[in-house]
Amino acid sequence: MVSKVLKITFTVICMIFHVSTGWCVEQTVVYFAVQYGIQDTGNPAPVVGQTDSYLSTLETKHGSLKGNRQVSPKVLSFDFYKTNGPVASGFGLEVHSYKKKYTFENDPSQVDISAVGFLYGLNFYYRGDFWFPFLGFGTGNYSAKVKEELVTGSSTTYGTVFGQVDKPFYYKFGVRIPLNGLGIILTQQYISADFDVSTENKPLSLGGTATFIGLYYGF
């Protein structure tokens, strides 16, 4: 079912884009954007994501997490589009970075996570009069560092794990509201990026469901 939905979506995108070449006025547009927002790493990306188990495994030993799984990434992005009348297709690069410290209810154990995602993929646009909705999908890589300090009774175990997620997958949709070169961008993004933490041999989601708002500059 999942693969069928993706196949149909991808086919439709290809066909829409293909037939759009019948329109005219070609132009290339470049955008730089800075975005900020909330990403819920505990809420897996629909269809492509799955629930992780690294933190929940630690919860069974050290008590529930204090706080939630939300992180606040900063996102820098660069996109270019080749327009064909009201529709456009293009390619984009994004750098996501965030840090988060988790603590537990039952003891002073803590886990520090820092992650940097370098994502890239295809984007598709509709150029309306006042707003430009878009959707996109892609891959890239996530680099992460997980630093553990886990307390069990009177002993403390330490662990520092580096690693990379080689083939994350993301899809997103959103809108650009142009205001003379500068503009506002709103993005809803879903990222599947499971990092295997070798200390527990369990996956930790570095992606999840994210909502970003920011400014862009186009030329």
């Binding site: 290809c14 884009f17 070449t21 290339t28 270019f80 080749k82 297709s89 990379q164």
Partner: protein, 425 residues
């Protein structure tokens, strides 16, 4: 606009546990009254039950006036630079390449040099290896944990500049099939870049006494030392500079399956094969594996006017792994901006799995950070970014640029400069 599905069929094929799926679709679209017949062949992989859309590749065959004329899906191509980490130098490594091939009967001959500065000191955090220990000569005990345990996994002290000189010849067998032969010559020495790299670190606020600066300040500049320890025993222990030692030659075939169109990307399959030279006496053991390696890259490229995007995904199988990884996976993404027809700037990102295989080194300890814990992190995948310039003038072509490791996991070069020049006829 009317779109009509004429025919659609799918079939699956299982290959070594990976399910390959094929969907064949024919549609007719009427645009402004003119019918356009389109034929798609989707090929996808099911990995662990999940469809990885971007690991799929798509071949489109279109006929009639399917809006393909005039599209360009390849330019001067990605930066053709292989991983330069000193430990992986004896093995085959795949280079990103253009999706287009030489035309039948055409040839290219080039020379190039890749200068890579690598500095890794897994004993840096405990200051077990500093200028003093290097001056007296390193022993395997220097790589043990502070409490004297040999520890599991790989420990490293790499302070080297590698210079890989390549002689390359490419020949167009047909308009879509290209043959390549490459012979490398390798030098390992102390180089000249340490001082500049440390200055750049200081300039951007990275301490050369800490992990971010790879503990460079603990060592002399521009010295050559190459020590790799696995499970407490030396794999390599060398501080004798080597010059222009011939590595093992490799050959390759590149097949452009489709040039793509306005929608579909160009698709190319690249295969490489490294010959084995069993003479590994003396210094040759540092640059030859003595085994046959082979690898592949599947390359997609898509043009958006002056911008061209290239993707590659592949794997290298190592025949004689000498205690390192027996295979390496790699991906690249390359973004080319064509300033003019003959001049391009290229940004590139390459990810690859580690040359260090997973070991029994424990990532946890009860006494703070320890040696084994640090060793365990050497087996993770890593990435580098590259920036370069490509230029063509008549029969002469030129490529230059640099590569920077941004993960700092200790299993990649710090900084690479590369340059290639050749003739095309």
């Amino acid at each position: 606009m009317q779109i009509e599905l004429i025919y659609c069929d799918k079939f699956l094929h299982k290959l070594k546990g990976i399910t390959l799926g094929f969907i064949f679709t024919v549609v007719v679209a009427k645009i402004q009254g003119y019918p356009r017949y389109l034929c798609f062949l989707f090929i996808y992989m099911k990995i662990k039950g999940l469809l990885k859309l971007l690991s799929a590749f798509i071949i489109s065959i279109a006929w009639n006036n399917s809006a393909q004329a005039g599209s360009i899906n390849s330019g001067l191509g990605p930066l053709e630079i292989r991983p330069q980490f000193i430990v992986s130098q004896p093995f085959l490594a795949m280079t990103p390449e253009n999706s287009s091939t030489l035309k039948g009967g055409e040839s290219k001959l080039s020379v190039g040099i890749e200068i890579a500065n690598t500095f890794v000191n897994t004993q840096g955090p405990t200051e077990q290896i500093t200028k003093k220990e290097v001056a007296r000569g390193l022993t395997k005990e220097d790589f043990y944990d502070k409490n004297g345990d040999a520890g599991k996994g790989y420990s490293l002290y790499l302070d080297a500049e590698t210079k890989r000189k390549n002689l390359k010849y490419n020949y167009g067998i047909s308009d879509s099939l290209e043959f390549k032969l490459e012979i490398p010559f390798l030098s390992f020495d102390g180089g000249f870049m340490d001082s500049s790299i440390e200055s750049v670190h200081s300039l951007i606020g990275i301490s050369n006494f800490k992990q971010g600066g790879a503990y460079r300040a603990l060592s002399e500049r521009n010295k050559y030392d190459y020590y790799v320890v696995k499970d407490g025993e030396f794999v390599y222990a060398s501080n004798q500079i080597i010059y222009n030692v011939r590595g093992e030659p490799s050959m390759g075939l590149k097949w452009n399956l489709s040039e793509g169109g306005n929608v579909m990307p160009a698709v190319t399959l690249k295969l490489s094969y490294k010959f084995a030279n069993s003479d590994r006496s003396g210094e040759q053991k540092l640059v030859r594996s003595g085994g046959v390696d082979w690898g592949h890259y599947l390359i997609l490229s898509k043009g958006f006017d002056k911008w061209i995007v290239y993707f590659g995904d592949g794997k290298t199988r190592i025949g004689e792994n000498l205690g390192f990884a027996s295979s390496m996976s790699h991906q690249f993404m390359s973004l080319e901006y064509r300033i003019e027809e003959e001049v391009s700037f290229v940004f590139q990102s390459v990810s690859q799995s580690s040359i260090f295989q997973e070991t029994a080194a424990s990532p946890r300890s009860t006494s703070g950070e320890n040696q084994e814990q640090r060793n365990s992190n050497l087996s993770v995948s890593t990435s580098v970014s590259a920036f370069g310039y490509k230029f063509v003038s008549g029969p002469i072509f030129w490529e230059t640029g640099f590569v920077q490791d941004y993960n700092n996991f200790g299993n990649e070069t710090d900084f690479v400069l590369f340059w290639e020049m050749g003739v095309h006829w």
